[in-house]
């Protein structure tokens, strides 16, 4: 189990549907101030916009953990965007396992609340959550 210090050293990438927090540009600043480059936030027009390449590129660029945040099931503006996101994430997990990466490095969070969620509290909760993963092997120098 990783310690709090180790968790703080991890790089987190968040892809999230823009409808989760319409004030994201303002709200993300508090978390960016406290965590700096450890957290990267990428709003997308719909969570169904996510594709395996986004996740894999994020891991390649230094992410230790990638989160995909979607609206509650049944509430997608594009009807099935969050369902598509689910499929894309599981496909990406399959690809990751094939190359020997833990599939826990990417996680889909289907938000339960309809509104009132701000991106800073969401990120804070998720970063503070205990995970079984450590630093990504992709971030370690080659021997």
């Amino acid at each position: 189990m990783e310690t709090k210090e180790e968790r703080q050293g991890l790089n987190f990438y968040f892809f999230f549907c823009q409808r989760i927090d319409k004030e994201q540009e303002k709200n993300r600043r508090t978390i960016e101030k406290s965590m700096g480059d450890k957290v990267r936030l990428f709003p997308i027009p719909c969570s169904g916009r996510i594709e395996p390449i986004h996740i894999l590129r994020a891991l390649e660029k230094g992410a230790d953990k990638v989160y995909v945040l979607t609206c509650r099931e049944g509430l997608c503006r594009y009807r099935e965007g969050n369902l598509r996101a689910k499929k894309r994430v599981s496909y990406a997990q399959k690809l990751m396992e094939e190359i020997g990466l833990e599939k826990e490095r990417v996680e889909l969070i289907n938000l339960k609340k309809e509104n009132g969620m701000t991106i800073d509290t969401l990120v804070e909760d998720l970063v503070g959550k205990k995970t079984n993963i450590g630093s990504s092997p992709l971030n370690k120098p080659l021997l």
């Binding site: 892809f15 823009q18 600043r29 960016e32 101030k33 990428f42 590129r57 594009y78 598509r84």
Partner: protein, 462 residues
């Protein structure tokens, strides 16, 4: 005939993927595998050239799509949809809208005038500059004659004090002392930036841009001194600290200087003129209610140039602020009433976001304008103001190459110059000096509304 002023523009590529209004949302699952897929038939080859920028995680479909909606309309299984791009929606603020920002980007990239094509789809009036309509009644010939050089429209303005009359001695010699005057070929000066990431690349880009179009850039003297920038060609030092803290050699080497409106600015001006009689001194005055009296007072005392500054949104310093165009109009009107308007040059800055704002502010009575934020936007700034809070710049502005930045600014100013020529051509004017204070050639929504509707609902007299 003097040489025609022309700003040479050339295409200057963006450093970062462009942020456009809409994002493609395409479901891969459910594809019918049509032989003639809409993705293959995209006229801009958006899907064929697809790639993902790992740094910003921006898909190239979101930067190359031209919003023609052919793919959205023609996919038989309706798998392609378009949504507003959150990065686009979140750019700027209520005043500096995403549309204004992308408009400036286009001009900085291409040096061309943005043309909307299928007519104007927006409202006909709004707050700020949008409540002012200019008279284009002289459109009886191509308004682009000025741009293409078939007729010469001068955009030159003079900065400095002007004598109202000349006195000659008995022998015909000129007795009136001629105050210093600086001519600039475009009624635009680059102002102090209200925010900017740290580093020297942005100031260097501004200097390069100013030199290329032969105008001036205002910079804090404390910064110029610290960095040892010399020569101060095309630079107007702003004495932000003690007004005595500048060497005589420097004062003698520059044509214009700016001083703050502190204490007795005219006596500071006179002191500087004792050292260099050819020096034009600008007094930086914050716009606020009652500024008209101050402007009259400073003009009567002999001020050369007043720089009237509003905030980033074009508002003055007040609880219920007046917009820059209204306050400048009032200052201009008061000076005209007192019969002293022509003695002084008025420079206005704050909230100037588009070429039309420059023309409108000149109509309201400014001789020249000073721009700030659009220069940053030309270098791909998104007006997120994160730099103000010490956060990283998403456009990495601190790393711009000064040469690249200078070219982008030149392109933007080239576009603005051409738009000014179009306005002047459409008004039947041959020079921008004639446009100053031409309020009869503009209509103001508030005035029209008052004239038309104020009597409604009132009983007639008698």
């Amino acid at each position: 005939m003097p040489k025609k002023y022309h700003i040479h523009t050339s295409s200057v590529q963006n450093r970062l993927p462009k942020i456009i209004k809409s994002g493609v949302i395409a479901w891969e699952e459910g594809c019918l595998k049509c032989a003639r897929c809409v993705k293959k038939e995209c006229v801009y080859k958006v899907y064929e050239k697809r790639g993902l920028d790992g740094e910003s995680m921006v898909d190239s479909t979101d930067t190359m799509c031209m919003d023609c909606f052919r793919c959205v309309q023609n996919c038989p299984n309706r798998l392609i949809q378009k949504g507003i791009n959150p990065l686009y929606r979140d750019m700027g603020d209520e005043y500096w809208t995403p549309d204004i920002i992308s408009n400036i980007w286009f001009q900085a990239e291409t040096g061309r005038i943005p043309v909307s094509g299928a007519g104007y789809g927006g409202p006909f009036s709004g707050p700020g500059f949008d409540s002012m309509w200019t008279d284009m009644s002289e459109i009886v010939r191509p308004t682009r004659d000025g741009i293409h050089g078939r007729e010469y429209i001068s955009t030159t303005v003079d900065i400095g004090r002007k004598p109202m009359y000349l006195e000659f001695g008995d022998d015909g010699s000129l007795l009136t002392p001629i105050p210093p005057l600086v001519e600039i070929p475009l009624p635009v000066i680059f102002d102090l930036l209200p925010f900017s990431p740290p580093g020297d690349n942005i100031p260097q880009s501004l200097i390069a841009g100013a030199r290329s179009i032969n105008t001036y850039v205002i910079m804090k003297w404390s910064y110029l001194k610290e960095k040892g920038i010399s020569p101060l060609q095309n630079i107007i030092p702003f004495l932000d600290g003690n007004t005595d803290d500048i060497e005589e050699g420097v004062i003698k080497s520059i044509p214009i200087i700016e001083i703050p409106d502190r204490g007795e600015p005219v006596s500071v001006q006179n002191r500087l003129n004792e050292i260099n009689p050819q020096l034009v001194v600008m007094i930086r005055v914050e716009l606020a209610p009652g500024i008209e009296e101050k402007a009259c007072d400073l003009t009567k005392k002999g001020a050369h140039t007043l720089h009237l500054c509003a905030d980033e949104f074009g508002n003055e310093q007040a609880e219920k602020p007046l917009f820059i165009k209204d306050r400048v109009r009032s200052v201009h009107g008061t000076l005209v009433e007192k019969g002293i308007r022509d003695q002084v040059t008025l420079l206005a800055s704050g909230g100037i976001a588009m070429a039309e704002h420059m023309a409108k502010l000149i109509i309201c009575g400014a001789d020249c304008v000073a721009v700030d934020i659009p220069l940053l936007v030309a270098m791909e700034c998104r007006i997120c103001r994160r730099c103000k809070e010490g956060l990283s710049c998403p456009a990495k502005l601190e790393t711009v190459e000064p040469q690249w930045g200078g070219k982008r600014i030149t392109n933007l100013m080239g576009g603005w110059h051409n738009q000014l020529l179009e306005v002047l051509g459409a008004m039947g004017m041959r020079e921008v000096r004639r446009l100053r204070g031409e309020m009869g050639r503009a209509m103001f929504f508030e005035d029209l509304e008052r004239e038309v509707f104020s009597n409604l609902g009132q009983r007639g007299q008698g």
